[in-house]
Amino acid sequence: MTTASPTADRTDLESETAMTSERRQILEMLSAGKISADEAERLLQLTSGGQSASDGSGASATASAVTSTVAQVLDPKFIRVIVEPDPTASGNHARHHVNVRIPLKIIRAGVNLASLIPNDAGNMVQDSLLNKGYKGDLSKLDASALDELIEALQELSIDATVDNHLVKVFVE
């Protein structure tokens, strides 16, 4: 007959408590609208995977994976743009593959750099952007607006079909 040691029991209890805390955190994020239903499902699957693990180390490893995934969802680091040929499209068209990952830190650094541009040069940039169809005012983009922009980007997810190509834009 085998009995679990007190240390093993305590480890299991700590892992279970951490898992419950993670599930609660995921549900709170979902209700607050910080993550989508798909992301919540993915995270909950990770936690349930940890609960089904037989040993405490597996559960705690999954809990830490969930924590890192939650942190990743709440604090995305990159914008990813993927363009792939639409497999359902017919016809002989050019097939392009694009995979671009842009660090979000570039946006903040770019705004800091842009704030140092002299007024004359800034006006020239603004005119050029207007000519290209961008009607925003770059001079109004400050640190607080930037924080709002980055926060809004966390919910960014675009799936579109353009010229027989699938275009996906999301943050990760």
């Binding site: 694009v98 995979n99 990952r101 842009i102 660090p103 770019g110 800091n112 750099l113």
Partner: protein, 87 residues
């Protein structure tokens, strides 16, 4: 903040790792030579306030270079390929 140390670039079939870490010491030496001269020149010209603007631009540019880490670009168009990666 650490600038990217290497850069992978591939055009068509030709790919190469560029050792950027060799570039940064040279840039640092040039800056150390340039900044005192710029400071003196602007002090003599009575436009010392411009020096601080230059200094802020250099720091912002350095921050921009550091933030490029993680950038990944892969473009394939028929037989043409372009890859850029800054780990």
């Amino acid at each position: 903040m650490i600038p990217p140390m290497v850069m992978w670039i591939k055009i068509q079939w030709f790919g190469i790792w560029i050792p950027l870490f060799l570039l940064w010491p040279i840039v640092l030496v040039l800056l150390l030579l340039f900044l005192p001269l710029a400071f003196l020149g602007m002090a003599i010209a009575g436009r010392l306030s411009k020096f601080w603007v230059v200094l802020r631009i250099i720091l912002a540019a350095y921050s921009m270079v550091c933030s490029v880490r993680g950038l990944q670009i892969e473009i394939q168009k028929e037989n043409r390929t372009l890859e850029i990666y800054l780990p």
